[in-house]
C-alpha cells in the first residue's frame, strides 16, 4: 500500500498541509510577538520620558519621590524602576540589584531578575532601559517580561502540536482515502482480469454516486459493450464466411475427386477443370463481397468523402442496367429530381454507385418478366432519397424488419436467394453515410429507399460550390 500513487499523494498533501498550518501559526506568532515587543518599548519609553521630565523640573528629590510612589502604587503594572548613583549604591526602586548585563548603545538591555516573592524565590525575565541623568544618577525603567515569555512558550507548543497533528491526521486520512480509492481501482482491475481470462461479460461495478470513478466505470463499461458487440459481429461474419464458402468448396472438391476416380478422357478433364474454375470464381465472388462488407463496416466514416451527385450515379446505373431489364422483358425507368433540386451528398462515390447498382440488380432479379422497375432521385424538402421500386413479389412485412437487421438479413437472404449479400452491402454503405435504408410496400412489390440525412444534404451544395470555384 505504501507504494501506491494514492498513498504517496496523501503523504505529500499531509506534509503540505502541516507546513501550511505551521506557516500560518508562525506568522501569527511573529506578528503578535513583534506587537507585544513594540508595546513594551513604547511603555518603557513613555515612562522614562515622564520620569525625566519630573527630574528636569524637580531635581533628584522629586524624581525619587515619584519613583517611590510608583513603586508602591503600580506594583501590579509589571513595571520595574531602579535609581542608582554612578559608581554608588542604589537609591530607590523595586529591584534588589542593579543588573550585571551591560546595556546596548541606546541603553536597552534584557536580563533576568531573581526576587523573593512571599518567601518564594522567583526568576523572571525583564527588559529595561537605562538613562544617565545629568547629576550622575542612573535611572533604569523596565518591564517584567514573564507574560511575553509565557506567550512565546505557548505559541511554540501549539505550533509543534499543530504540525504534529496535521501530519498524523493527514497520514491517517491518506491511508483511509487510499484504501477507499484502492478498493475501487481494484474493482476495475478485477473486471479487467475477468475479461483477460476470456469472460467478455465482466463489467466494472458502478456505485451510483456519480463521481469520477462512476464516470470512469460507466465509460469503461460502454467501451466494453462496444467491443463485445464488435467481437460478436466479427464472429458472425467469420461464421458466415465459413458457411458461405464451405458448400462451393465442397462442391469443387467433389468434382475434382470424382474426375480423378473415373477413367476420364482429355475432354472430361477439361470440363472438370473448367467447372472447378467456375466454382473458384463463385467462391472468390462471395469472399470478396463478404470482405467488402466487413471493410465498409470497419471503415472510418468520412474517409475520402467528397460531394457526389446522386442523380448522376442513379442515372448511370439505370442506364447500365436498362438493357438487362429489357432482355428480361421488364421496363426500367429513371426519373431525375425536379429541376432546380440538387441531389448532392457527401460520400464515397464508388461505394454509393455500388449500393445503387445492387438495389437495381436486386429489383431486376426478383421481378418477374413484364415487370416494372422504377428508379428516382428526390431532393425536395431538404432530404435526399434514392428510390428503387419494383412491382414484383416484394418482401413480406414480417421479414422486412428482419431484412434490415444486419445478420438476420444475411441469414434470411442466404436461404432465399443465391449469395444474397447485395442488400448487406447496401446496408453497410448506408450506415457509413449515416443514411437510412427503408424497405417499403410498393403495393405491389418492394420499394427500397436510401434516405440521406438532412444535415449532409443541406451542407453539401455549399461545399460543392466551393470545390467548383476553387
Amino acid at each position: 500500500m505504501f507504494r501506491t500513487t494514492v498513498f504517496r499523494l496523501a503523504l505529500i498533501s499531509a506534509i503540505m498541509f502541516a507546513l501550511l498550518s505551521g506557516l500560518v501559526l508562525g506568522l501569527v506568532f511573529l506578528t503578535t510577538a513583534a506587537l507585544i515587543d513594540q508595546q513594551t518599548v513604547t511603555a518603557i519609553n513613555t515612562e522614562m520620558a515622564g520620569l525625566e521630565d519630573i527630574y528636569r523640573r524637580g531635581g533628584p528629590s522629586r524624581l525619587i519621590e515619584a519613583i517611590q510612589s510608583r513603586v508602591n502604587g503600580f506594583q501590579s503594572n509589571h513595571l520595574i524602576y531602579l535609581l542608582k548613583r554612578t559608581d554608588g549604591p542604589t537609591v530607590v526602586g523595586n529591584l534588589n540589584t542593579w543588573p550585571t548585563v551591560p546595556p546596548d548603545r541606546n541603553g536597552w538591555l534584557r536580563f533576568t531578575v531573581e526576587s523573593d516573592m512571599d518567601g518564594r524565590r522567583q526568576v523572571w525575565p525583564a527588559q529595561a532601559r537605562i538613562v544617565t541623568l545629568p547629576s550622575g544618577l542612573r535611572l533604569l525603567v523596565g518591564r517584567d517580561m514573564t507574560e511575553r515569555s509565557n506567550f512565546s512558550r505557548i505559541m511554540e507548543q501549539s505550533l509543534a502540536f499543530a504540525l504534529g497533528a496535521a501530519l498524523i491526521l493527514g497520514i491517517i486520512g491518506g491511508v483511509v482515502m487510499s484504501r477507499n480509492l484502492l478498493s475501487r481501482i481494484d474493482a476495475v482491475n478485477t473486471t479487467a482480469q475477468t475479461i483477460l481470462e476470456g469472460d467478455l461479460s465482466g463489467r466494472v461495478p458502478v456505485s451510483g454516486g456519480g463521481d469520477e470513478f462512476d464516470r470512469l466505470a460507466t465509460n469503461l463499461n460502454s467501451m466494453l459493450d462496444r467491443i463485445q458487440k464488435l467481437i460478436s459481429a466479427m464472429r458472425e461474419v467469420t461464421d458466415n464466411i465459413a458457411h458461405d464458402l464451405r458448400s462451393p468448396l465442397n462442391r469443387m472438391r467433389s468434382r475434382l475427386e470424382i474426375t480423378l476416380v473415373g477413367q476420364p478422357d482429355l475432354a472430361e478433364y477439361r470440363r472438370s477443370l473448367e467447372g472447378a474454375l467456375e466454382d473458384t470464381d463463385t467462391i472468390l465472388h462471395t469472399f470478396n463481397a463478404l470482405l467488402s462488407i466487413a471493410r465498409i463496416e470497419g471503415r472510418n466514416a468520412k474517409e475520402n468523402f467528397a460531394p457526389v451527385d446522386l442523380t448522376d450515379l442513379a442515372g448511370g446505373t439505370a442506364e447500365l442496367y436498362e438493357p438487362v431489364a429489357e432482355e428480361r422483358g421488364q421496363t426500367l425507368a429513371f426519373t431525375p429530381p425536379e429541376a432546380g433540386d440538387r441531389a448532392v451528398v457527401v460520400g464515397d462515390r464508388h461505394l454509393l454507385s455500388q449500393a445503387i447498382a445492387n438495389l437495381v440488380d436486386n429489383a431486376i432479379k426478383y421481378t418477374p418478366e413484364g415487370g416494372q422497375v422504377r428508379v428516382w432521385v428526390d431532393a425536395a424538402h431538404g432530404s435526399t432519397r434514392v428510390v428503387v421500386a419494383d412491382n414484383g413479389p416484394g418482401v413480406p412485412e414480417e421479414f422486412r424488419s428482419a431484412v434490415l437487421n444486419r445478420f438476420v438479413r444475411l441469414e434470411q437472404s442466404r436461404h432465399t436467394h443465391g449469395t444474397g449479400l447485395g442488400l448487406s452491402l447496401v446496408s453497410a454503405v448506408a450506415d457509413l453515410h449515416g443514411a437510412r435504408l427503408d424497405l417499403l410496400d410498393n403495393a405491389p412489390g418492394l420499394r427500397v429507399e436510401l434516405v440521406f440525412p438532412e444535415k449532409a444534404a443541406r451542407r453539401t451544395p455549399a461545399e460543392g460550390d466551393g470545390a467548383a470555384v476553387g
Partner: protein, 225 residues
C-alpha cells in the same frame, strides 16, 4: 516482347511466367523490389508486372523510382488490396494499370496486351477503322460498308473502346472500368447484355461478325474469325 515479373511468391511467379511464356512472351523474374528496380532500369523491358508488397523495396516505391529516372515502361501493379483507394494509390505512384489479387490469368493477359499496344499508333486519331467498320470520332458517326449505324452515346463509347483495342482481348472488367467507370463486380453480367446489344447493331445485318466472344476471358473485335 520482354516482360519483367517482380513477385516474391515463387509459386505465383512461376505460374505467371509459364502463362506469359505460353502466350509468346519472354519473361524475366525478380523476387524482390531492389532486384526488380535494378533489372527494370538496366534492361529494355516492354512491360513490367509488379507485385505491390515486396521484400526490400515496396512495389509503389519501385514504380516511383522508375518514373523519376525517366523510365516510361508500362507497369501493371498486382495487389492483394482490392480497395478502390489502393487502386488510386497505385496509379498515382506511376502505375499504368492495377489488378487485385486473386486475378484471372486471362484478365492479366488482356490488360498486359492493352498496355503493350498503348504506345502504338497516333494518339490524336480522328478516325478508327476495323475492316469495313469505320468510326468518325469528330462527327461521332459509325458506318459499316458505307451504311450508317445509329448508336446510343454509351454504345458509341463501348464500340470506340473495342475498336481502339482491335485484335486484343478485352475483359468485362476492363469494359466496366473504362467505359462505365465502375470499379466493382456487378452481380449480373451487365456487360454481356450491352455487348449483345451492340452486336445487334454492328454485326447482325452483315455476313462477317466483328465482335467475338473469347470464352473465359471477354471479347475481341477483329476482322477475321
Amino acid at each position: 516482347m520482354r516482360i519483367l515479373v517482380v513477385e516474391d511468391d515463387a509459386e505465383a511467379a512461376a505460374y505467371l511466367a509459364k502463362g506469359l511464356r505460353e502466350s509468346g512472351y519472354v519473361v524475366d523474374h525478380a523476387d524482390n523490389g531492389m532486384d526488380g528496380l535494378y533489372m527494370a532500369t538496366n534492361e529494355p523491358y516492354d512491360a513490367i508486372v509488379l507485385d505491390r508488397m515486396l521484400p526490400r523495396l515496396d512495389g509503389l516505391a519501385v514504380v516511383e523510382t522508375l518514373r523519376k529516372a525517366g523510365k516510361q515502361t508500362p507497369v501493371l501493379i498486382l495487389s492483394a488490396l482490392g480497395e478502390v483507394d489502393a487502386r488510386v494509390q497505385g496509379l498515382r505512384a506511376g502505375g499504368d494499370d492495377y489488378l487485385a489479387k486473386p486475378y484471372a490469368f486471362s484478365e492479366l493477359l488482356a490488360r498486359m496486351e492493352a498496355l503493350l499496344r498503348r504506345g502504338e499508333g497516333p494518339t490524336q486519331q480522328t478516325r478508327l477503322q476495323v475492316g469495313d467498320l469505320e468510326m468518325d470520332l469528330l462527327a461521332r458517326q459509325v458506318t459499316r460498308s458505307g451504311r450508317t449505324i445509329a448508336l446510343q452515346p454509351r454504345e458509341f463509347r463501348l464500340l470506340e473502346y473495342l475498336m481502339r483495342h482491335a485484335g486484343q482481348v478485352v475483359t468485362r472488367t476492363m469494359l466496366l472500368e473504362n467505359v462505365w467507370d465502375y470499379h466493382f463486380d456487378p452481380q449480373t453480367n451487365v456487360i454481356d447484355v450491352h455487348v449483345s446489344r451492340l452486336r445487334q447493331k454492328v454485326d447482325k445485318d452483315f455476313d462477317k461478325a466483328l465482335i467475338h466472344t473469347v470464352r473465359g476471358a471477354g471479347y475481341v473485335l477483329r476482322e477475321s474469325d
